[in-house]
Amino acid sequence: MSPLWLIAGRLLKRVLASRHVPFLALGAAFSFVIQMFNIPLPGGTSGHLVGSTLIAIVIGPWAAFIAVSITLVIQAVLFGDGGITAIAANSFNIAFVMSFSGFYMFKLLSMRSPLDSTWTILSAGIAAYISLNIAALLVGLELGIQPLIAHAPDGRPLYFPFSLHVSVPAMILWHLLFLGFVEALLTGLVIAYLRKADPSLLGILHNKQAKP
């Protein structure tokens, strides 16, 4: 995980336009606050949004990766949320993979449409939906393989006790049915606002796209 953070740091200087610098803090703060909205889910659990795709569309995936990683570090260190030992895995899933999958999905979908089209907003929403679910699936897979790779000779799990056929559906179901749509709505709304208020903030993306 740390090599990824180092690469991100190196690239950040180059890819983070000066007008986006305050947005690293804003992005991290935004992700921190929306993750505090625990949404009750059937079955006695809860879920939360992340915001990585939205942040990645605005400041680019490397910067979003750093911003959401900062959030995860502060959550674990100050609030015991997520956990010190889980920072790397969490950062990989919801900071790294979600930022990059969301960003490139958005680019792919909105490639041929002008910034002011409705499709651009829909693309952002679809990218947010899919990337949140990719991240949730990864969490399910990583947790579910634990009993396979780490168990005592008598078969008792040493770390995580539930196997893949439990962990994957548990992680993915409510992200597919509900949380993904909320993440999509939030992402679409904020992108629509930014496009109207200050399109230059989204320029980093579309300037690049405008080139042949």
Binding site: P22, G44, I70
Partner: protein
Amino acid sequence: MNKTTIYLWICLGVLTALTPLGLIAQGAPWGEWTGKELKEMIGFIPEKLKGMEQIWKAPFPGYSLSGAESTPLEYIFSALIGIAAVSALSFIIIKALNKNMR
């Protein structure tokens, strides 16, 4: 800071005031249980997870000041501390990068 940025920080402030809504949910996110919760579910705490909760004492565990269940005010206070901390860390990282890359 331009107008849009200021407006976005204001929106974040409004969201912060609303964070206590996040306390309505009772259960932990799937997989994020405490040792106690895990014991209630499967009857034991997996060997290597024992003691893991003790390796780090967070100053505001569970977004509360006392360590007990977070109250709405404590939750908002935690959000403010969190926002300040992530902003500070962001600016430190940007400062460090600027210094190294010059």
